[in-house]
Symmetry: C2
Subunit: 189 residues, 2 copies
DNA sequence: CCCATTTGCCTAAAGCTATTAGGCAAATGC
DNA sequence: GCATTTGCCTAATAGCTTTAGGCAAATGGG
Protein backbone atom coordinates (compact mmCIF):
# COMPACT_ATOMS: atom_id res chain seq x y z
CA UNK A 1 0.00 0.00 0.00
CA UNK A 2 1.60 3.25 -1.12
CA UNK A 3 1.42 6.01 1.44
CA UNK A 4 -0.21 9.23 0.46
CA UNK A 5 2.16 11.45 2.39
CA UNK A 6 -0.39 13.45 4.28
CA UNK A 7 0.45 16.09 6.82
CA UNK A 8 -1.70 18.59 8.64
CA UNK A 9 -0.12 21.30 6.50
CA UNK A 10 -0.89 19.55 3.26
CA UNK A 11 -4.46 18.94 4.39
CA UNK A 12 -4.82 22.56 5.38
CA UNK A 13 -3.64 23.74 2.00
CA UNK A 14 -5.89 21.32 0.15
CA UNK A 15 -8.71 22.31 2.43
CA UNK A 16 -8.17 25.95 1.57
CA UNK A 17 -8.29 25.19 -2.13
CA UNK A 18 -11.38 23.12 -1.65
CA UNK A 19 -12.95 26.01 0.22
CA UNK A 20 -12.24 28.34 -2.68
CA UNK A 21 -13.84 25.88 -5.05
CA UNK A 22 -16.99 24.91 -3.22
CA UNK A 23 -17.27 27.38 -0.36
CA UNK A 24 -15.87 27.20 3.15
CA UNK A 25 -19.18 26.04 4.62
CA UNK A 26 -19.28 23.10 2.26
CA UNK A 27 -15.85 21.86 3.24
CA UNK A 28 -16.13 18.48 4.90
CA UNK A 29 -13.67 15.91 6.15
CA UNK A 30 -15.16 13.40 3.72
CA UNK A 31 -14.79 15.71 0.79
CA UNK A 32 -11.21 16.46 1.68
CA UNK A 33 -10.46 12.74 1.94
CA UNK A 34 -11.92 12.20 -1.52
CA UNK A 35 -9.86 15.08 -2.84
CA UNK A 36 -6.56 13.73 -1.57
CA UNK A 37 -7.48 10.16 -2.48
CA UNK A 38 -7.62 8.42 0.87
CA UNK A 39 -10.36 7.01 3.07
CA UNK A 40 -12.04 9.37 5.47
CA UNK A 41 -10.79 7.74 8.63
CA UNK A 42 -7.20 8.23 7.56
CA UNK A 43 -7.49 11.95 8.07
CA UNK A 44 -8.13 11.54 11.73
CA UNK A 45 -4.46 10.74 12.31
CA UNK A 46 -3.68 14.28 11.20
CA UNK A 47 -6.74 16.17 12.34
CA UNK A 48 -8.60 16.04 15.60
CA UNK A 49 -11.98 16.58 14.03
CA UNK A 50 -13.88 18.66 11.52
CA UNK A 51 -13.64 21.76 13.67
CA UNK A 52 -9.88 21.35 13.83
CA UNK A 53 -9.71 21.30 10.04
CA UNK A 54 -11.75 24.47 9.75
CA UNK A 55 -9.68 26.20 12.37
CA UNK A 56 -6.46 25.31 10.55
CA UNK A 57 -7.82 26.65 7.30
CA UNK A 58 -8.87 29.81 9.08
CA UNK A 59 -5.42 30.33 10.61
CA UNK A 60 -3.81 29.67 7.26
CA UNK A 61 -6.02 32.23 5.56
CA UNK A 62 -5.41 34.82 8.26
CA UNK A 63 -1.64 34.44 7.81
CA UNK A 64 -1.83 34.64 4.07
CA UNK A 65 -4.05 37.68 4.14
CA UNK A 66 -1.88 39.39 6.74
CA UNK A 67 1.18 38.77 4.60
CA UNK A 68 -0.50 40.29 1.60
CA UNK A 69 -1.68 43.30 3.49
CA UNK A 70 1.76 43.79 5.00
CA UNK A 71 3.33 43.67 1.56
CA UNK A 72 0.78 46.11 0.19
CA UNK A 73 1.36 48.49 3.06
CA UNK A 74 5.14 48.54 2.87
CA UNK A 75 6.43 52.05 2.34
CA UNK A 76 3.05 53.68 2.19
CA UNK A 77 1.30 56.08 4.48
CA UNK A 78 -1.85 58.17 4.67
CA UNK A 79 -4.47 57.73 2.01
CA UNK A 80 -2.06 55.69 -0.01
CA UNK A 81 -1.80 53.16 2.76
CA UNK A 82 -5.53 53.18 3.33
CA UNK A 83 -6.22 52.42 -0.31
CA UNK A 84 -3.55 49.72 -0.44
CA UNK A 85 -4.98 48.10 2.65
CA UNK A 86 -8.49 48.21 1.28
CA UNK A 87 -7.48 46.81 -2.08
CA UNK A 88 -5.39 44.02 -0.62
CA UNK A 89 -8.35 43.03 1.44
CA UNK A 90 -10.90 43.10 -1.34
CA UNK A 91 -8.60 41.43 -3.86
CA UNK A 92 -7.90 38.59 -1.51
CA UNK A 93 -11.59 38.02 -0.93
CA UNK A 94 -12.25 37.97 -4.64
CA UNK A 95 -9.38 35.66 -5.47
CA UNK A 96 -9.98 33.35 -2.55
CA UNK A 97 -13.60 33.54 -1.46
CA UNK A 98 -13.40 30.34 0.52
CA UNK A 99 -10.28 31.34 2.38
CA UNK A 100 -11.71 34.75 3.04
CA UNK A 101 -14.78 33.14 4.57
CA UNK A 102 -12.46 30.92 6.58
CA UNK A 103 -10.62 33.93 7.93
CA UNK A 104 -13.91 35.07 9.39
CA UNK A 105 -14.42 31.87 11.37
CA UNK A 106 -14.98 32.63 15.01
CA UNK A 107 -11.96 31.32 16.89
CA UNK A 108 -11.81 30.71 20.57
CA UNK A 109 -9.98 33.50 22.41
CA UNK A 110 -6.62 31.77 22.94
CA UNK A 111 -6.44 30.60 19.35
CA UNK A 112 -7.36 34.05 18.13
CA UNK A 113 -4.75 35.66 20.35
CA UNK A 114 -2.06 33.44 18.84
CA UNK A 115 -3.26 33.97 15.28
CA UNK A 116 -2.34 36.44 12.58
CA UNK A 117 -5.51 38.23 13.57
CA UNK A 118 -3.44 40.38 15.89
CA UNK A 119 -1.25 41.45 12.97
CA UNK A 120 -4.39 42.60 11.20
CA UNK A 121 -5.35 44.72 14.17
CA UNK A 122 -1.84 46.15 14.39
CA UNK A 123 -1.76 47.03 10.73
CA UNK A 124 -5.12 48.74 10.92
CA UNK A 125 -3.88 50.84 13.81
CA UNK A 126 -0.68 51.54 11.90
CA UNK A 127 -2.66 53.04 9.06
CA UNK A 128 -4.54 55.23 11.45
CA UNK A 129 -1.31 56.64 12.80
CA UNK A 130 -1.21 58.57 9.56
CA UNK A 131 -4.27 60.44 10.77
CA UNK A 132 -4.63 62.61 13.78
CA UNK A 133 -6.87 60.64 16.05
CA UNK A 134 -6.85 60.40 19.81
CA UNK A 135 -8.06 57.50 21.87
CA UNK A 136 -10.89 56.51 21.95
CA UNK A 137 -11.45 57.84 18.46
CA UNK A 138 -8.77 55.59 17.12
CA UNK A 139 -10.63 52.56 18.41
CA UNK A 140 -13.84 53.79 16.86
CA UNK A 141 -11.99 54.25 13.60
CA UNK A 142 -10.47 50.79 13.75
CA UNK A 143 -13.92 49.35 14.17
CA UNK A 144 -15.33 51.46 11.39
CA UNK A 145 -12.66 50.49 8.90
CA UNK A 146 -12.99 46.84 9.79
CA UNK A 147 -16.74 47.08 9.40
CA UNK A 148 -16.76 48.85 6.06
CA UNK A 149 -14.14 46.64 4.47
CA UNK A 150 -15.53 43.42 5.79
CA UNK A 151 -19.08 44.48 5.16
CA UNK A 152 -18.44 45.58 1.61
CA UNK A 153 -16.57 42.47 0.66
CA UNK A 154 -19.16 40.31 2.31
CA UNK A 155 -22.07 42.04 0.57
CA UNK A 156 -20.30 42.01 -2.75
CA UNK A 157 -19.54 38.32 -2.39
CA UNK A 158 -23.16 37.65 -1.53
CA UNK A 159 -24.13 39.25 -4.82
CA UNK A 160 -25.78 42.17 -3.10
CA UNK A 161 -24.49 44.66 -5.66
CA UNK A 162 -25.78 42.95 -8.73
CA UNK A 163 -28.97 44.98 -9.00
CA UNK A 164 -27.37 48.29 -9.95
CA UNK A 165 -25.23 48.81 -13.02
CA UNK A 166 -22.72 50.85 -11.01
CA UNK A 167 -19.28 49.22 -11.05
CA UNK A 168 -18.40 47.96 -7.58
CA UNK A 169 -14.83 49.17 -8.10
CA UNK A 170 -16.08 52.72 -8.45
CA UNK A 171 -18.03 52.47 -5.25
CA UNK A 172 -15.00 51.00 -3.56
CA UNK A 173 -12.79 53.87 -4.69
CA UNK A 174 -15.40 56.42 -3.65
CA UNK A 175 -15.75 54.86 -0.23
CA UNK A 176 -12.00 54.77 0.35
CA UNK A 177 -11.79 58.38 -0.72
CA UNK A 178 -14.56 59.49 1.57
CA UNK A 179 -13.22 57.51 4.50
CA UNK A 180 -9.88 59.18 4.03
CA UNK A 181 -11.56 62.58 4.09
CA UNK A 182 -13.54 61.60 7.13
CA UNK A 183 -10.43 60.56 9.00
CA UNK A 184 -8.44 63.62 7.98
CA UNK A 185 -11.04 66.11 9.05
CA UNK A 186 -11.73 66.90 12.66
CA UNK A 187 -15.28 66.53 13.92
CA UNK A 188 -17.59 68.70 11.79
CA UNK A 189 -20.53 69.75 13.89
CA UNK B 1 -52.88 9.87 17.21
CA UNK B 2 -53.29 13.52 18.05
CA UNK B 3 -52.25 15.87 15.29
CA UNK B 4 -49.63 18.44 16.01
CA UNK B 5 -51.15 21.18 13.87
CA UNK B 6 -48.09 22.03 11.87
CA UNK B 7 -48.04 24.60 9.12
CA UNK B 8 -45.18 26.07 7.15
CA UNK B 9 -45.74 29.33 9.03
CA UNK B 10 -45.56 27.67 12.41
CA UNK B 11 -42.41 25.82 11.40
CA UNK B 12 -40.87 29.01 10.14
CA UNK B 13 -41.54 30.78 13.41
CA UNK B 14 -40.22 27.91 15.48
CA UNK B 15 -37.25 27.68 13.17
CA UNK B 16 -36.53 31.36 13.72
CA UNK B 17 -36.62 30.89 17.47
CA UNK B 18 -34.41 27.87 17.21
CA UNK B 19 -31.99 29.90 15.13
CA UNK B 20 -31.81 32.56 17.83
CA UNK B 21 -31.14 29.90 20.41
CA UNK B 22 -28.51 27.78 18.71
CA UNK B 23 -27.45 29.78 15.66
CA UNK B 24 -28.86 29.80 12.17
CA UNK B 25 -26.17 27.49 10.85
CA UNK B 26 -27.04 24.88 13.43
CA UNK B 27 -30.70 24.81 12.50
CA UNK B 28 -31.59 21.40 11.14
CA UNK B 29 -34.78 19.73 10.05
CA UNK B 30 -34.20 17.06 12.68
CA UNK B 31 -33.74 19.58 15.44
CA UNK B 32 -36.87 21.42 14.40
CA UNK B 33 -38.83 18.16 14.43
CA UNK B 34 -37.62 17.44 17.96
CA UNK B 35 -38.56 20.94 19.00
CA UNK B 36 -42.13 20.67 17.78
CA UNK B 37 -42.47 17.10 19.00
CA UNK B 38 -42.95 15.14 15.79
CA UNK B 39 -40.87 12.73 13.76
CA UNK B 40 -38.53 14.18 11.21
CA UNK B 41 -40.27 12.82 8.15
CA UNK B 42 -43.48 14.59 9.11
CA UNK B 43 -41.97 17.95 8.34
CA UNK B 44 -41.54 17.06 4.71
CA UNK B 45 -45.27 17.49 4.16
CA UNK B 46 -44.80 21.15 4.99
CA UNK B 47 -41.31 21.82 3.73
CA UNK B 48 -39.64 20.81 0.52
CA UNK B 49 -36.25 20.29 2.08
CA UNK B 50 -33.73 21.81 4.47
CA UNK B 51 -32.94 24.63 2.08
CA UNK B 52 -36.62 25.50 1.90
CA UNK B 53 -36.75 25.80 5.66
CA UNK B 54 -33.76 28.11 5.74
CA UNK B 55 -35.15 30.24 2.96
CA UNK B 56 -38.44 30.63 4.79
CA UNK B 57 -36.69 31.69 7.96
CA UNK B 58 -34.64 34.16 5.95
CA UNK B 59 -37.72 35.70 4.34
CA UNK B 60 -39.43 35.89 7.69
CA UNK B 61 -36.46 37.67 9.23
CA UNK B 62 -36.19 40.10 6.33
CA UNK B 63 -39.85 41.05 6.74
CA UNK B 64 -39.57 41.47 10.45
CA UNK B 65 -36.44 43.57 10.19
CA UNK B 66 -37.93 45.72 7.43
CA UNK B 67 -41.00 46.33 9.58
CA UNK B 68 -38.86 47.41 12.47
CA UNK B 69 -36.74 49.71 10.38
CA UNK B 70 -39.84 51.22 8.78
CA UNK B 71 -41.31 51.90 12.20
CA UNK B 72 -38.07 53.41 13.42
CA UNK B 73 -37.84 55.63 10.38
CA UNK B 74 -41.39 56.97 10.52
CA UNK B 75 -41.41 60.73 10.79
CA UNK B 76 -37.64 61.13 10.85
CA UNK B 77 -35.21 62.63 8.41
CA UNK B 78 -31.55 63.51 8.11
CA UNK B 79 -29.19 62.39 10.81
CA UNK B 80 -32.14 61.46 12.97
CA UNK B 81 -33.26 58.97 10.37
CA UNK B 82 -29.76 57.68 9.86
CA UNK B 83 -29.33 56.99 13.56
CA UNK B 84 -32.76 55.38 13.85
CA UNK B 85 -32.01 53.15 10.90
CA UNK B 86 -28.66 52.17 12.32
CA UNK B 87 -30.03 51.43 15.75
CA UNK B 88 -32.96 49.42 14.48
CA UNK B 89 -30.54 47.35 12.54
CA UNK B 90 -28.08 46.75 15.34
CA UNK B 91 -30.79 46.16 17.94
CA UNK B 92 -32.43 43.54 15.81
CA UNK B 93 -29.17 41.72 15.32
CA UNK B 94 -28.53 41.73 19.04
CA UNK B 95 -32.01 40.60 19.99
CA UNK B 96 -32.26 38.00 17.28
CA UNK B 97 -28.80 36.88 16.22
CA UNK B 98 -30.12 33.77 14.51
CA UNK B 99 -32.73 35.64 12.53
CA UNK B 100 -30.22 38.30 11.63
CA UNK B 101 -27.90 35.63 10.28
CA UNK B 102 -30.85 34.18 8.41
CA UNK B 103 -31.59 37.52 6.81
CA UNK B 104 -28.11 37.36 5.30
CA UNK B 105 -28.74 34.05 3.58
CA UNK B 106 -28.02 34.28 -0.10
CA UNK B 107 -31.31 33.93 -1.92
CA UNK B 108 -31.71 33.12 -5.55
CA UNK B 109 -32.51 36.22 -7.61
CA UNK B 110 -36.27 35.70 -8.05
CA UNK B 111 -36.79 34.94 -4.39
CA UNK B 112 -34.73 37.95 -3.41
CA UNK B 113 -36.66 40.18 -5.79
CA UNK B 114 -39.92 39.13 -4.16
CA UNK B 115 -38.58 39.49 -0.63
CA UNK B 116 -38.58 42.32 1.85
CA UNK B 117 -34.99 42.87 0.79
CA UNK B 118 -36.24 45.40 -1.72
CA UNK B 119 -37.90 47.38 1.07
CA UNK B 120 -34.53 47.52 2.78
CA UNK B 121 -32.95 48.96 -0.29
CA UNK B 122 -35.77 51.48 -0.69
CA UNK B 123 -35.49 52.62 2.89
CA UNK B 124 -31.77 53.08 2.62
CA UNK B 125 -32.26 55.27 -0.43
CA UNK B 126 -35.01 57.14 1.39
CA UNK B 127 -32.60 58.10 4.13
CA UNK B 128 -30.11 59.35 1.60
CA UNK B 129 -32.70 61.66 0.11
CA UNK B 130 -32.09 63.74 3.21
CA UNK B 131 -28.58 64.37 1.89
CA UNK B 132 -27.54 66.05 -1.26
CA UNK B 133 -26.14 63.27 -3.38
CA UNK B 134 -26.29 62.78 -7.09
CA UNK B 135 -26.16 59.49 -8.92
CA UNK B 136 -23.87 57.60 -8.89
CA UNK B 137 -22.81 58.91 -5.50
CA UNK B 138 -26.09 57.81 -4.02
CA UNK B 139 -25.39 54.24 -5.06
CA UNK B 140 -21.94 54.41 -3.56
CA UNK B 141 -23.46 55.73 -0.36
CA UNK B 142 -26.09 52.99 -0.28
CA UNK B 143 -23.34 50.45 -0.54
CA UNK B 144 -21.25 52.13 2.08
CA UNK B 145 -24.06 52.33 4.61
CA UNK B 146 -25.00 48.73 4.01
CA UNK B 147 -21.40 47.71 4.42
CA UNK B 148 -20.74 49.61 7.62
CA UNK B 149 -23.91 48.54 9.32
CA UNK B 150 -23.74 44.95 8.29
CA UNK B 151 -20.01 44.79 8.88
CA UNK B 152 -20.21 46.30 12.31
CA UNK B 153 -23.00 44.09 13.48
CA UNK B 154 -21.32 41.07 12.03
CA UNK B 155 -17.97 41.81 13.66
CA UNK B 156 -19.61 42.64 16.97
CA UNK B 157 -21.56 39.41 16.86
CA UNK B 158 -18.41 37.49 16.11
CA UNK B 159 -16.90 38.88 19.28
CA UNK B 160 -14.39 40.96 17.37
CA UNK B 161 -14.73 43.92 19.72
CA UNK B 162 -14.05 42.10 22.93
CA UNK B 163 -10.36 42.96 23.10
CA UNK B 164 -10.73 46.68 23.78
CA UNK B 165 -12.53 48.13 26.76
CA UNK B 166 -14.23 50.73 24.58
CA UNK B 167 -18.01 50.37 24.70
CA UNK B 168 -19.31 49.23 21.30
CA UNK B 169 -22.25 51.62 21.69
CA UNK B 170 -19.87 54.55 21.79
CA UNK B 171 -18.15 53.42 18.65
CA UNK B 172 -21.53 52.94 17.03
CA UNK B 173 -22.62 56.46 17.92
CA UNK B 174 -19.30 57.87 16.72
CA UNK B 175 -19.55 56.04 13.44
CA UNK B 176 -23.11 57.20 12.80
CA UNK B 177 -22.08 60.74 13.61
CA UNK B 178 -19.09 60.66 11.27
CA UNK B 179 -21.08 59.06 8.49
CA UNK B 180 -23.65 61.79 8.79
CA UNK B 181 -20.91 64.39 8.50
CA UNK B 182 -19.43 62.58 5.56
CA UNK B 183 -22.73 62.52 3.73
CA UNK B 184 -23.55 66.14 4.49
CA UNK B 185 -20.28 67.54 3.27
CA UNK B 186 -19.40 67.79 -0.37
CA UNK B 187 -16.21 66.12 -1.55
CA UNK B 188 -13.29 67.48 0.46
CA UNK B 189 -10.18 67.31 -1.69
C1' DC C 1 -75.16 11.16 10.13
C1' DC C 2 -72.09 8.27 7.37
C1' DC C 3 -68.91 7.13 4.23
C1' DA C 4 -65.19 8.65 0.88
C1' DT C 5 -61.57 11.47 0.25
C1' DT C 6 -58.01 14.20 1.71
C1' DT C 7 -54.56 15.32 4.87
C1' DG C 8 -51.18 14.70 8.61
C1' DC C 9 -48.09 12.13 11.02
C1' DC C 10 -45.73 7.68 11.41
C1' DT C 11 -42.48 3.66 10.31
C1' DA C 12 -38.95 2.01 7.28
C1' DA C 13 -35.11 2.54 4.60
C1' DA C 14 -31.13 4.36 1.87
C1' DG C 15 -27.37 7.63 1.46
C1' DC C 16 -24.04 10.89 3.30
C1' DT C 17 -21.00 12.88 7.11
C1' DA C 18 -18.42 12.45 11.61
C1' DT C 19 -15.82 9.82 14.58
C1' DT C 20 -13.71 5.79 17.07
C1' DA C 21 -11.42 1.19 17.36
C1' DG C 22 -8.46 -2.07 15.83
C1' DG C 23 -5.34 -4.13 12.13
C1' DC C 24 -1.58 -4.59 8.81
C1' DA C 25 2.13 -2.90 6.17
C1' DA C 26 5.57 0.64 5.30
C1' DA C 27 9.05 3.59 7.20
C1' DT C 28 12.44 4.50 10.71
C1' DG C 29 16.09 3.79 13.92
C1' DC C 30 19.30 1.18 16.73
C1' DG D 1 18.13 -6.87 10.31
C1' DC D 2 14.83 -6.46 13.44
C1' DA D 3 11.72 -3.71 16.62
C1' DT D 4 9.08 0.13 16.90
C1' DT D 5 6.55 3.70 15.26
C1' DT D 6 3.57 5.61 11.94
C1' DG D 7 0.14 5.82 8.20
C1' DC D 8 -3.65 4.27 5.94
C1' DC D 9 -7.29 0.79 5.87
C1' DT D 10 -11.66 -1.85 7.21
C1' DA D 11 -15.47 -2.00 10.28
C1' DA D 12 -18.85 -0.06 13.03
C1' DT D 13 -21.80 3.43 15.47
C1' DA D 14 -24.43 7.53 15.38
C1' DG D 15 -26.79 11.70 13.43
C1' DC D 16 -28.99 14.33 9.55
C1' DT D 17 -31.60 14.28 4.96
C1' DT D 18 -34.85 12.66 2.12
C1' DT D 19 -38.23 9.38 -0.15
C1' DA D 20 -41.89 5.75 -0.06
C1' DG D 21 -45.71 3.77 1.73
C1' DG D 22 -49.26 3.18 5.55
C1' DC D 23 -52.88 4.22 8.88
C1' DA D 24 -55.77 7.33 11.32
C1' DA D 25 -57.89 11.78 11.87
C1' DA D 26 -60.32 15.51 9.71
C1' DT D 27 -63.51 17.07 6.27
C1' DG D 28 -67.37 17.42 3.35
C1' DG D 29 -71.10 15.82 0.15
C1' DG D 30 -75.09 12.90 -0.03
Amino acid sequence: MVRAGLTPERLTREGAELADEIGFDQVTVSGLARRVGVKVASLYSHLNDARDLKTRIALFALEELADRVAAALAGRAGKDALAAFADAYRDYAREHPGRYAAARLRLDPETAAASAGVRHAQMTRAILRGYDLTEPEQTHAVRMLGSVFHGYVSLEQAGGFGHTPVDPRESWAWIVDRLDALLRNPATP
